[in-house]
Amino acid sequence: MPDLPIYRPALAGKAALGGETIRLEALPEGHLLHVMGAATTEEIKAHLLGTGLKASSVRPAGYRQWFVAGNDRLSAMHLRALTEALAGRAFISDQSHGRIRIRVSGLNAAQVLNKGTAVDLHPSAFPEGSTAMTLFGHISMQLTRTGADDFELTVLRSFAESLHEELEALAVAHGAEHLAS
């Protein structure tokens, strides 16, 4: 981000919240790539493996669009390799600075999320690996189920704090407390 003089994570200073049945935490601002083109999810997955990005995951984000997300900062070399691998099939727009990921997990995670989104989160309708572009209240987000009781919310950076505050209130209502960071 050479055009921004100071780098500060959007949810810096937010301690994780945890309870018996719910946990809320901001994820590291690693990488978040917007991929657009006539590719397929499998094709993008194969190229991620081929370019050494094993820890990144691919999430469909609408017709011919995907988000590639991961916890590590992406080197210019990796980004260039992926761009070249997808050349002629899809374009990449690096949104690592523009979108923030939040993790909501625990037995009550789906219940908490359904306070804000109308997506059917029953495991039969939204199994592990499912992803949806949707709303949480009035905030646009991408919701991904990364485990049985494990979800990731991707939100535009400027909405991250607002969404996090809403989730905090919901988590507290389910007995979560701020954890020392």
């Binding site: 609408g62 109308a118 949806a132 572009m133 949707t134």
Partner: protein, 92 residues
Amino acid sequence: MASLISCPHCGTRPKEEFTVKGDASISRPTADAGEEDWYDYVYLRGNPKGLHKEYWHHSSGCRRWLIVERDTVTHKVHGVSDAALAKLGGGA
């Protein structure tokens, strides 16, 4: 109004995720068409009872423009297709 719309890309979603963008059956007049045709196209809209085709933008989902065919009396949705793909002759 219909409360659930089945987006061909996203599945069944509540209407709050969409923005209704008006009649999908009107077509733009040719550039040299008369004033009356243009007035009609820009300002006049029917208020049909029964089947109606509308543009719906999945603004809080995949952000695609859809054509929703619905019944204004029974609220039943008869079909949803991707507007751009329908125009190109393909399905969604």
